[in-house]
Subunit: 141 residues, 2 copies
DNA sequence: TATTGTTATACTCTATAACTATA
DNA sequence: TATAGTTATAGAGTATAACAATA
């Protein structure tokens, strides 16, 4: 049998669990022709109509250089609408089609999150989530 | 203030924490001219001299098509040695230089893992790690 | 037939540099 | 000066398909 020198490393475990969750998410979103990053952008715009592209990027930790083509693709597909706020900022809003696909996105995400929660024993669930969210908030750059 | 519709989603929190840890790892390994995936391969070979490329890939969840160039680069740099086991398998072993860089790799990894552990309150630490490792083992594909 | 290893290729996310236009 | 947005480009990880050689 082969020895795994990484089995006791929480950082590596985080990486593997995250990768598995992301793979399932990508698969679930594929029938909507959405990528994971696009799905989070849609969810943020849906919850914050008129939000700015740079605000979305800051919230999600996506650099502005990477937001540009991402938002452009969503606009090209007619899922979001860009309206000038001032000379350099554009408020983002979901179109009707964008709202429809965002509802479906949320159901894909919710099912995945439920599956994940179900795999966490009830006894440790509260402690696990508390630590996880604290870690996520701390390095919210 | 902008509302974050993802702040209660454990899957998304996993993704953000993992991304932050990976970014720090990549930065720490850059002075060794190693990528994260390469560092894990070195650690596994170091702990299992003579291990096969396909065994390493299975353990780490790296497809064989992606293992090939990764191992080739490590061999080209003289960090690992490939010896034929049978006609189609090659046993992988660290060279002297490979052992030296693997020791440094381990210290980079260990420091990062210590930092991560230190950010987990002692009260919840055991429960958090138990769940995390269980999740990682479950989807060990 | 199944497995090992390889090549080619494409996709997704991320990172940096350089730039325009506006506040 | 600082910020919003864009373009170009590169790096890293991962995925599939197709293949040769071997068990």
């Amino acid at each position: 049998m082969i020895h795994d020198p990484l089995e006791d490393l929480p950082g590596y475990a985080l990486r593997r669990v995250s990768a598995a969750v992301m793979a399932k998410l990508a698969e679930g979103l594929s029938r909507l022709d959405l990528r994971p990053a696009e799905s989070t952008v849609l969810l943020v715009i849906g919850a914050n109509p008129g939000v700015t592209q740079s605000e979305v990027g800051r919230l999600l930790g996506i650099a502005s250089a990477n937001m540009a083509p991402l938002v452009a693709r969503l606009a090209d597909r007619g899922l979001i609408v860009r309206e000038a706020v001032d000379g350099r900022s554009q408020g983002l809003t979901l179109s009707d089609g964008g709202r429809r696909i965002t509802v479906k996105t949320r159901s894909v995400v919710d099912e995945l999150e439920s599956d994940l929660l179900a795999r966490i024993p009830a006894v440790e669930r509260a402690a696990f989530l508390k630590v996880l969210f604290a870690l996520a908030r701390d390095q919210d750059d």
